[in-house]
Amino acid sequence: MFDVFSDIFACRDNALTRMDPRAKLIVAFGMLVAVLTSGKVFMPLVVFLGCVSAMFAVGMPPRLVAIRLAGPAGIVAVLVLLQAFLVNGTPVLNFSLFGWQISASHEGLARGTLLGARVVGCVSVVLLLSSVTPAYKIFHALRWFRVPEGWIEIALLVYRYTFTLLDQTADVAAAQTVRLGYSTMKRSLSSMGVLAGTVLTRSLDQAVRTHEAMTLRGYHGSIPFGPLPEMSASDRLKVGVAIPAVGLLYVCLERWPW
């Protein structure tokens, strides 16, 4: 999980990581809206291909991209089947199973494919965003969108200590495993409870230490956030070009074939 849940690529230096997080959020939002409102599969698929190409371009290994997309791909398969067999319409496949007549419809298949395309399109946008923007920068950028500072403060703490706790959890789980803690179902259940309890107690211990450390540094109940810097002219220009480009692409692909 540590390999998958890592922002190592977001900390590299490239054209996308240098871009203002607010600009990236606006463009990502525009792409998500375009994919969600599309009535044909073309727009979601073009967005998917574009985002996956961008992930490769910033140096993400294909294996990691595949792992991150594996879960949503399974959901897409289920969605297509669910829609094909549950939506009424022109039958494309008929068979009998234990006396039941099962039929897949053309309309259901088309609807399932569209939903599946939307899922892979949206997931690729979000994965690209997280691959080129560290989470703390996303959280700071959210202040610009009027997200309450209390939420951002807790989010920064959660993100900061997730990796520390992740290391500790992995150590405890490895120690349990070598002591045959997961050799039988009964032992596994007991070990899972102990592991979850250990994570909780360690997190609470860490909370006490963190609060003391923050108090020593002048903490008085809330983290002071400075003003956000002005978005640069080049980033404003990028947003100004990207959003109309997405809109134009959307209109063209929704009307295709012309």
């Binding site: 939307r118 807790i154 409870g193």
Partner: protein, 247 residues
């Protein structure tokens, strides 16, 4: 005949889902599934609960300054626990607990909604579990329904004289099942199209039974085990968090 075919399709889909379920993501509605109007509606309904949680955080942290650190660290723990793979013997696969019932017992349901919203954003961004466009529905099912059910069941079981461990088990079990039922309903409302909402809801519900029923029991066991661990090793934390909530 049509109803007969519908039942057949549900059975077929249930079997297919049972066979294709790799690592189950049943607790989260995936990115892009909900149409914009449904995504906006669930988001609008989730916002007041998050605002309530943030208000409680602001009010309580004035009296207890270390609360924010506590909530942040419990949030990190919840995020990690909700990513732990649990073996599900009936499906021959692994799934994840939702952990919001457990968190609600510790820090209360309103703050758990805030913690769940943050964990869901991180999972959507980095693990492709859930999504930003489905965040409202996911907050409502995992955060609101899971937390309030878990907390309500825990308090009710204690008032009825159940032991701490039994109450924690019931909270973990029922919060998990309620989250699963809620997720199925949100999915069905978006996916039924021109077909019957009831059939779609039923098919999603049945499809995930082989995974979610044993998972709920396992989450109950894990919640009870974790609670017992904290109670026996570090009871001062439970007293501190309960005292803060009562204050």
């Amino acid at each position: 005949m049509k109803k007969r075919s519908g039942i057949g399709a549900i059975v077929l889909l249930a079997s297919m889902l049972g066979l294709t379920s790799d690592t189950a993501h049943a607790m989260h509605i995936a990115e892009g599934i909900l149409p914009p109007q449904w995504a906006a509606l669930w988001f609008a309904l989730a916002i007041p609960f998050v605002a309530w949680g943030l208000r409680e955080l602001r009010v309580r942290s004035k009296e207890e300054p270390q609360l924010k650190a506590m909530v942040g660290l419990v949030g990190a723990a919840v995020f990690l626990i909700s990513c732990m793979p649990i073996p599900v013997p009936t499906a021959g696969t692994c799934s994840h607990p939702c952990a919001t019932g457990m968190a609600a017992i510790l820090i209360g349901p309103a703050l758990t909604v805030v913690v769940a919203s943050i964990a869901l954003v991180l999972q959507a961004l980095f693990l492709a579990h859930g999504g930003l466009t489905t965040l409202g529905a996911d907050i409502l099912s995992m955060g609101v329904m899971g937390a309030f059910t878990g907390y309500g069941i825990f308090v009710l079981a204690r008032r009825l004289g159940a032991s701490w461990v039994v109450a924690a088990f019931m909270a973990g079990l029922l919060s998990d099942w309620v989250v699963y039922a809620g997720t199925s309903f949100f999915l069905a409302t978006a996916l039924h199209g021109d077909g019957s909402l009831e059939t779609m809801f039923l098919s999603i519900l049945i499809a995930f039974v082989p995974t979610q029923v044993p998972l709920g029991i396992l989450e109950g066991v894990m919640c009870a085990g974790a609670y017992r661990f904290v109670q026996t090793r570090r009871p001062e934390f439970l007293m501190m968090l309960t005292k803060e909530r009562e204050a």
